[in-house]
Amino acid sequence: MENRTKNIIGKVDVPLLVLFLALVIAGLLTVYSASYSEESPQIYSLDKAYGKQLVWIIISLLIGVLILTLEGSFIRNSAYIVYGVVTIMLLIVLFMPAIKGAHSWFKIGGFTIQPSEFAKFATSLAIAHFLSTTGVKIQETKTKLIVFFLIAVPGFFILQQPDPGTLLVFFSFIFVMYREGLSGNILLGMFFALIIGVMAIFFKASEANVNIFSWVFEANYLYLFVIVLASVLIHFGITYLVMPRYRGKKYITNIIGASMALLLVFSCNYAYDNVFKDRHRDRFEVMFGLKLDRKGVGYNSYQALSAIGSGGSAGKGYFKGTLSNDKYKHVPEQSTDFIFCSWAEEWGFLGSFLLIILYTAFLIRIIMVAERQKSKFTRIFGYCAASILFFHYMINIAMVIGLAPVIGIPLPFFSKGGSAILGFSIMIFIFLRMDSERKDVLR
C-alpha cells in the first residue's frame, strides 16, 4: 500500500505541482498581508482571514493527497455521482439563510461552505465522462444538447442563489467544446458578437455625434452603416478575390451574418435604453473611461487602480502596502475579489508581471499535460480545469486593472475563500492523479 502511494506520487507531473504550490503559497502570503492587522499578528488565529485560509489550504492538500491514492477508474466511474451530489447540494443551499443577500453558503461552525465552488469540478467530471463515452460525437446536436443540459442544471441553481459571477464561469466550457471539435465558427461568431456588442454599447454610452456635411447624427447610426458596408465589402471581397469555390455559398451566410450583427446592435441599443438601470449604464461609462467616477460605481475600480499604480516598478515591499490592506482598507474586498491589488501594490510591476507569467505558465502546463493523454476523459477534464481557471484569471485581472466592468469573480488560489481553494485543489489533484496513471491505462 505504502509502496503504491509512493509510486503514484513519484509519477505526478512535477512542473504542474510546483506551479500549483507556488500559486497557493503566493496566494496565502498575499491574503496574510492583505488582512494582516497589527493588533493580532498571530498567523494561526482562526478568527482571522489568513488563519482560516491556512486551515483550508492544509485541508485542501490533505484531500489532494487522498485523491492521489484513489484509482483512476474509481474517479471516472464516480463522475456522475459527484455531479449528482453537488447538484443536490446546490438545490439544498437555496434553502439556507442568506449571507450578504445570497443563499450560497452552508454554515458549519465558524466555517462556511460554498457548493457552487464544487460545482466547477463536478460539472467538469460529468462533461469529461459524457464526452469521452464511446460513440458520442460532438458534431451531433444531441451531444451539444446534453452538454448544455449538464451545464444548465447547476447553472440554473447558481443563478437562483443568485451568483451571476460564478454562472459566468460556466461559459468557459465553450473552450473545451471547441477543443473537442465544436465548429470554430461558433466561437468566432461569439467573439465577433462580443466585439460588435461592446462597440455598440460604447457608441451608445458615449452619446457621440458625428458631423458629416453639417448633417449631425448619432455615431450609433454611423456604426450600423459601417457594419452593412463592411458586409458588402467582405462579400465582394470574397466573390472576386478569395478562392472561387466559396463563392455563392457564402452569399447567404454573409447576409445572415450582417443581419445578425444589425439585430445585435439594435438589441444592445434597446437594452441600453430600456433594460439597463442607471447603475448599469454608469458601470459601462466608467469602464469605457467616459467617466472617471471616484465616489459612485467607479469607486472600487478607482481605488483598485490607484493601489496597483502606486506599486510602481518594484513595489512598496511586503506588508508595506498603504491602500489594499486591512489597516487602511482603501481598496474594497482587498482580500477577495481585489486581492491582486495587494500583490501588485507590494511587489510592483515586477511582481505583477511575474504573477501573470506564472499563471499563464500554469494554464499552459495543464494544456500540455492534457494533450499528452491517451485517455479522452483525462484530456477533456484537463481542458475543463484549464478553461475554468483561465476564465477566472482573465475576468478577475481584467476587472481589477480596469479592462472589464466590476464582476465578482475571485482570483483562484489568491482570493480568500475556503471552498474555492478546496474546489480548485480537488480539480488539480484529480487531474494530477489521472495524469499519473496515463501509462497504466495503455497497459
Binding site: I308, Y359, L363, I367, F390
Partner: protein, 620 residues
C-alpha cells in the same frame, strides 16, 4: 488520430494574448504613467497643517499689550445639515431664521463649498461656548473648533498695535501670484499697525505633518512632521502707563500725542484721539464695529493722526528750525538782532529781539521774516528769482535733515512725509498744479509765510516730536520706532541704531534750548511748567480757516540729559499755550516723576474735564 489537436495552439495563443494585454496594461499603470500614483497619494496622504502661535506684544517694561484668548468657532458643513430643529438651533445661537439661512447660504458659496466646514459663528467666548456645546451634537453638520484670538488686556494703543483678520481674497491671491505663497485661505494676518509691519516675525513658521489615512479618513501612520516655529514676541517701546494716561487725557479731544525717548528714538507713546478699544476689532463683532468706526463716526477714529496727518503747518515751532539753519548757514549769528517791524508781518508787543534767544522766546514774526529772507535771497545772483531758487534749494536740504518733509522709516504703516517746499514745487505746483507760477516767476516775497511755519509747509506730529528729540540731542536723531526687541533675546531693526545728523552743528543748539527753557519759564508756555523739572518747549498755533486754531506744543525734559521729547496736537484747541502745553507737561510729569504734584493734579482735572470736541458736537 485527433483531427482537432492543433486547436490547442489557438487556445494557448488566446491565453498568451490575454496575458500580453494584461502585461502592457500593468506596465502602463505601474511604470509608464504617474496618474494613478498621484491619485493614490491623494487617497492615502493627509497633510495636517500645524499653526504656530502668533507672537505676543509687550510694552517696554514687559507688560502684556497683546495677549491671546481661547475662542471657539462654530462650523457648519451645509451638505450634512439634515433633520435638524432649526427653530431650536436659532434660539440656541440667538439668531433669526433669516440669518440662519444667510449663514448656510454663505457657507456654500464663494470659496466655501457645501461639503467642507466653514465658519457659522465666529469667536465664541469660553462662557458662551460652554452654554451651547451640550446641544451641538444633536445638530447634524455642526461642529466646533478651538482657536486663539488676539486679546488686548489694557484696551489701549489700538492705532499702534493694529489688528489681525482672516486674509482677504485679494491679499491671498496677491500672495499666491507675486508673494511668497505662504498663506492659506483661512490664515489670519496683521492688517495694520505693528501686527502688519512685523507680520513675518509674529506669525512664525507653519509646520505640517503627513499622515497615511485609512478609508474612513482616520490618520493612521505619521510619515513626517515638520514642527511649527512659534511667532516671535515683540518688545515694544511703548510705555503702557504713559500711553494709557495720554489716551485718558485726550478723551473728548481730537489730536495726537507722540512721545519719544531722545537718546534712542524709541516711541514711548503714540496716541491718536479719538481712539477706540482694540478689542472691538478682535472677534465676532469686527464687521459691525469696523463699519461704525470707519463710516458712522465723523471724527474718523480709524485714522492714525500722528503719522498720517502730515499736512499740519508747524506754526511758530518752525522758528526753531529756521534759527538753527540760519546760524549754521552763517546768515545770522547768535547775537544778530532785527527790529520787530510789524509792517513786514504782524506781531505782538514784546521786548526788542536783540538776539536769537529773545526772538524765539517771544516768537517774533518780523525777526524770522528777516532771517528767512536772508536764507532765501542770499545775494549770490543778481536776479532775485534766480537767487530765490538757489536759496530755497539750500534751505530745503537743511530742513529735510531735521526729518521734516521726508518719510520717516518708522515701523508703522501709513507714515506720511509731509511737505517742505522746494523750487520745483513753486515752479509746478503752486498755487495750483493747473495754474502754477512757473520758473523765475516767484521770489522770497511769494513764499515768506514759510518763515513763521505757515505757508506751504506740512508736518506730522511724529515729525514734530522727532524735532523735539533732535533739539534735545543737540543735532541728531534716531529714526523713531516702536519695537525695541524682536524676540526675547533679539534686537531692534539695525536701521534704528543709526544716528541721523542734521546739518546744524551742536554748538548752535545751546541758544535755542535756552530759549525753549525761557518759553516755559516765563514765555508763552507757562502752562507747561512742571515742579522740579526743567521743561524746554515751544508753542505753536496752526491757523485754521474753518474753526478754532489747532493748539500745538513740543517739548523735551529735563533740560540736562533729556528723557522724553514730546509733541502734542489738540485740534481746534485754540493757541498752543493752553491745552497742548498742559497735556505735554502732564505727560512729562507722569513719565519722569510718576506721581503728579498738586499743580499737576489741578491741571489734570482741567484737562480731563475739557470737552473740546466729542462726537456729538455739530462739527463738520
Amino acid at each position: 488520430m485527433d483531427a482537432f489537436q492543433h486547436r490547442r495552439w489557438i487556445i494557448i495563443l488566446t491565453m498568451l494574448i490575454v496575458t500580453l494585454v494584461f502585461g502592457v496594461r500593468l506596465l502602463y499603470i505601474q511604470v509608464l504613467n504617474n496618474d494613478w500614483k498621484n491619485r493614490a497619494e491623494q487617497i492615502t496622504h493627509h497633510k495636517v497643517t500645524i499653526h504656530p502661535a502668533r507672537g505676543l506684544l509687550y510694552d517696554r517694561n514687559g507688560e502684556l499689550l497683546v495677549a491671546v484668548n481661547q475662542v471657539y468657532d462654530i462650523l457648519v458643513t451645509p451638505k450634512d445639515v439634515k433633520d435638524i430643529d432649526t427653530a431650536q438651533l436659532c434660539s440656541l445661537f440667538g439668531i433669526s431664521k433669516t440669518e440662519f439661512l444667510q449663514k448656510i447660504e454663505y457657507a456654500s458659496t464663494g470659496y466655501n463649498v457645501s461639503y467642507k466646514a466653514s465658519t457659522f459663528i465666529e469667536s465664541m467666548s469660553k462662557e458662551e461656548y460652554s452654554r451651547v456645546v451640550p446641544y451641538l451634537n444633536s445638530f447634524n453638520g455642526f461642529d466646533s473648533k478651538r482657536r486663539t484670538n488676539r486679546g488686548y488686556p489694557s484696551g489701549i494703543a489700538a492705532h499702534v498695535l493694529g489688528y489681525v483678520r482672516k486674509i482677504s481674497a485679494e491679499q491671498y491671491s496677491k500672495d499666491q501670484k507675486v508673494g511668497e505663497k505662504y498663506y492659506n485661505q483661512n490664515d489670519y494676518v496683521g492688517i495694520t499697525g505693528l501686527e502688519k509691519v512685523y507680520e513675518k516675525e509674529l506669525r512664525g513658521e507653519r509646520g505640517s505633518a503627513f499622515f497615511l489615512r485609512d478609508y474612513a479618513g482616520n490618520d493612521k501612520t505619521n510619515l513626517e512632521e515638520n514642527y511649527a516655529i512659534s511667532g516671535q514676541n515683540l518688545y515694544t517701546s511703548i510705555d503702557i502707563n504713559l500711553q494709557a494716561y495720554g489716551e485718558r487725557l485726550m478723551k473728548n479731544k481730537l489730536g495726537s500725542i507722540v512721545a519719544i525717548e531722545p537718546s534712542t528714538g524709541e516711541i514711548l507713546s503714540l496716541i491718536s484721539a479719538p481712539s477706540f478699544d482694540p478689542n472691538k476689532l478682535s472677534g465676532r463683532e469686527f464687521s459691525e464695529n469696523y463699519k461704525e468706526l470707519l463710516n458712522n463716526d465723523t471724527l474718523k477714529p480709524i485714522i492714525n493722526r500722528p503719522i498720517y496727518n502730515a499736512n499740519y503747518r508747524p506754526g511758530s515751532i518752525f522758528k526753531l528750525v529756521q534759527a538753527l539753519i540760519a546760524m549754521q548757514e552763517g546768515v545770522i549769528m547768535q547775537s544778530t538782532g532785527f527790529a520787530c517791524n510789524k509792517s513786514l508781518i504782524n506781531c505782538h508787543n514784546h521786548e526788542h529781539p536783540l538776539n536769537v534767544q529773545i526772538a524765539i522766546k517771544h516768537s517774533c514774526n518780523p525777526y524770522f521774516y528777516q532771517v528767512y529772507k536772508r536764507l532765501i535771497q542770499r545775494g549770490e545772483q543778481s536776479s532775485i528769482f534766480k537767487d530765490s531758487r538757489l536759496g530755497i534749494e539750500k534751505w530745503n536740504a537743511a530742513v529735510k535733515s531735521f526729518g521734516l518733509g521726508v518719510k520717516l522709516n518708522t515701523d508703522i504703516p501709513g507714515v506720511k512725509a509731509g511737505r517742505i517746499p522746494d523750487a520745483n514745487y513753486y515752479d509746478n505746483e503752486f498755487p495750483s498744479k493747473s495754474n502754477p507760477y512757473g520758473k523765475y516767476r516767484w521770489a522770497f516775497s511769494t513764499i515768506y509765510s514759510n518763515s513763521i511755519g505757515e505757508g506751504e509747509i506740512g508736518v506730522s506730529p511724529l515729525q514734530m516730536a522727532n524735532l523735539a528729540a533732535i533739539i534735545a540731542n543737540r543735532g541728531y536723531y534716531y529714526t523713531p520706532h516702536l519695537v525695541k526687541k524682536i524676540g526675547k533675546d533679539g534686537s531692534k531693526r539695525p536701521e534704528y541704531l543709526k544716528k541721523n545728523y542734521t546739518m546744524a552743528a551742536a554748538k548752535y543748539f545751546g541758544p535755542v534750548i535756552n530759549a525753549m527753557e525761557m518759553v516755559v519759564e516765563n514765555g508763552t508756555a507757562r502752562n507747561a511748567q512742571v515742579d522740579s523739572i526743567i521743561v524746554c518747549g515751544k508753542t505753536g498755533t496752526v491757523q485754521n480757516e474753518t474753526f478754532n486754531d489747532h493748539s500745538v506744543f513740543i517739548a523735551f525734559a529735563p533740560k540736562e540729559n533729556p528723557q522724553i521729547a514730546i509733541a502734542v496736537y489738540v485740534e481746534y484747541g485754540t493757541w498752543g499755550g493752553i491745552w497742548a502745553a498742559k497735556i505735554a507737561s502732564l505727560m512729562i510729569e507722569k513719565y519722569l516723576a510718576k506721581e503728579l504734584s498738586e499743580n499737576g493734579k489741578n491741571k489734570e482735572k482741567q484737562v480731563l474735564d475739557a470737552i473740546i470736541l466729542d462726537k456729538h458736537s455739530d462739527f463738520k
